[in-house]
Amino acid sequence: MKILVPVKRVVDYNVKVRVKADQTGVDIANVKMSMNPFDEIAVEEALKLREAGVATEVIAVSIGVTQCQETLRTALAMGADRAILVETLAEVQPLAVAKLLKAICDKEAPQLVLLGKQAIDDDSNQTGQMLAALLNWPQGTFASKVTVSGAEVEVIREIDGGLETISIKLPAIITTDLRLNTPRYATLPNIMKAKKKPLDTITPEALGVDIAPRLTTLKVVEPPKRKGGVIVADVAALVDKLRNEAKVI
């Protein structure tokens, strides 16, 4: 079976972003960009399934600007077989991403789509669930273990109270949580090899998908700052502060 892995190009998780002075967004000029960490986990899981003989082909997809090619090349260097870029300069919100992915699923007929649970820029945590709805497929979100057996997938999910095990029928959507695996690094020889792997480019128009945003961002502001605190000398001083100043104990 084929596995599709959508990978998003996002501001690297180590970067603390700054809000632009004109409040139109955050400043991402000259900021390090990387593959969304949850998507690295998704790529890794897809590769493992291929290595285990469950999957035959892993296709990485990214939606966005030309530079998303770099993200796709990273996926290819990790081991994905080929890549598709849906190129657009426009803002693409989760519903539109899901519609574009649906159009690609209609063409490629994967049995499994592995997404990250959340993009660490918009923090939406929506796309996988939306794609599942549009395809009318079952979903295994926040996965910390994935076992494919025959026509079903068993997914252990991270939920609020602990873990939950579900069984869903293929074809299916899975979104990754942090404990699913530890993604491999792309080695230099594999980075070289990745340059020769196929990367196709297509547009939302060619896929016939309306990507018009449904939400308008009116402004983006900094979060309220916490007042600076103090370093206390010892436990006695801490207890005194908590009791008499903060009055929380």
Partner: protein, 310 residues
Amino acid sequence: MPILVIADHDGTHVKPGFTSTIAAAQKIGGDIHVLVAGSGCAAATAAAAATAGVAKVLVADAPHYAGGLPENLAPLIVGMAKNYSHVLAQATASGKNVLPRVAALLDVAQISDIVSVESADTFVRPIYAGNAFATVKSSDAIKVITVRSTGFDGVAATGGNALVENIPAGADAGVSRVLGQDLTKSDRPELAAAKRIVSGGRGLGDGDKYRAVLEPLADKLNAALGASRAAVDAGFVPNDYQVGQTGKIVAPELYIAVGISGAIQHLAGMKDSKVIVAINKDAEAPIFQVADYGLVGDLFTIVPELTKSL
């Protein structure tokens, strides 16, 4: 038009943040109806009906709603949604699982984790791990929203007297099953609702030390226990302890961070706490930048001493 709130419940109780979700609905304005879908959920229904501000509770009770499978729940909610201006759920694991599915079926956007209601179509939500707050306006006919509990002071959990009405269940989609749950058992307050939290990171060293050092302190304070991702990844504690951008968002009166460096992703989950205490041997650790009270030193001597002096 009224507002539909999807209750997150375990059959017996509604989740603690339920009252905050109702508070968010009140800010939007309009009659508030609550959907309780599940299998054997009479007690949860009663809890929802007793919540201040709820006008009506709609109950869909059927075996295939047990476990809140989104493949079964989403079509049920979609069928009801045309009678509502807004569909709200708490931003819990189950709310996040089902609401985007509902939104896509309705062909509308979903707005995640709102912390403020500006008007019936405009909301504020954190992005980039809470390093920015975006004000977004929706152009969709039905607004589908998850609510971050820490953003809203809850309404009273009692005193309400809502009408309870049974509604017919939809079909079982038959594509998914819950095989089992492995829930963390604890007598401590629930992390997401606790007034005090003691949270431990990689600095604790291992699970045994985590428990030996932090449990006595948490006992004294009647606090919930939390953790950083590093502590969860290393297996000190179960996944549901994780506080942060991609774990639980908490805002207790007191948050004590022990052996936690204060990565952006961790701060995202706790920096709205009223009082933050940091205990760390590295005076340069970023956690001290958000702490009201910092204590620099070895946690293995400081924490037992603190426990003793309380």
